[in-house]
Symmetry: C2
Subunit: 218 residues, 2 copies
Amino acid sequence: MNTRDTLATELNVLANFNPVVPESYKDAKVVMLGNLHPSVQMAVIKQIPVRPKLVALDTMNFWMDNTLPELMEVIAKIDVITINDEEARQLSGEYSLVKAAQKIQEMGPKYVVIKKGEHGALLFNDDNVFFAPALPLEEVFDPTGAGDTFAGGFIGHIARTGDISFENMKRAVIAGSNLASFCVEKFGTERMENLTFKEIQERLLQFKLLTQFDIELS
Amino acid sequence: MNTRDTLATELNVLANFNPVVPESYKDAKVVMLGNLHPSVQMAVIKQIPVRPKLVALDTMNFWMDNTLPELMEVIAKIDVITINDEEARQLSGEYSLVKAAQKIQEMGPKYVVIKKGEHGALLFNDDNVFFAPALPLEEVFDPTGAGDTFAGGFIGHIARTGDISFENMKRAVIAGSNLASFCVEKFGTERMENLTFKEIQERLLQFKLLTQFDIELS
């Protein structure tokens, strides 16, 4: 088979994975669609009988390149999209991330999270914008999984609090950045397996110290 | 002349510029050494009879490549250095900006400001670190002069307040980022010439909204 055929076969395999949402999950208030074939993401959406309070989606350039029509259909149905800066530019055709986020909001999701790796993450909603830095680390051992960990921390905070206001979405972006900062410290999932709640809370304080300032507004 | 000779001549011309500090400036509490030949920067330092409260220095890779010994002598005498991320890596030999800032502090300056362009700026002092984002803009028209404008805003805030605490240094980094965000909106100095204090204050509020979050620490 040539490369195109191989790719087509792989896409079919990926598209034919048929996720079954367990009965006990069907009343989920918050749904996070991981970075898979958009047909798989759509299959999950269709199995939830009552529209969840919030549906978030993670995706990547691979699906934009190969399954754009299906991806656009899913994007039209969700509330939050998390993608990196290059993907935001590709999806929107805009270089400016501000303009890119505006265009992506027109495609469906009211909240656009643009991940910039070591440069942090931006959250857009209408005219609101929030920026969460990545914690400056002495050493980044392995960045694999940082994006997924960010998404997990983000949606975990929303699910735990049940609050989908912009103010709380900001906290969710910080929660995601916080977890991702641990993920990269060791290989694979190693750091996450032994992570304690105390460590997370302590690093949250570091995020506050890193970004909070007091300045007079006259 | 070959390239090496041309460069040597240019360096001589730059080194032989002899800045004369006016009498009325010799009691300056705060001195900002712009990005010039380190011999010129040193000549300014030597003309100030009483050690200022704070001496800041801006430099770049060109001086690291061509005049490193002279540059290191100046760096040993100053309090704040402002450089970009690649220059911090070059000067320190460390990829991690956290480690780079530690090494640079050992060279002299207690405060290290690392400018990351559209990705913001980091301020390091001992174990303290502060991050100021760049304001996400719809359009960056011309980035020329953004670094100099940042330095001007930074040192202007310090000079105006006379406060060299870390808390106030954080505000100075925000003040610099604020001014730089205007600089890039038009060509050359055009935007700065017509900038009003009201516009600066309004954008300061945007910086607050962009970065401030409230999160429970249990």
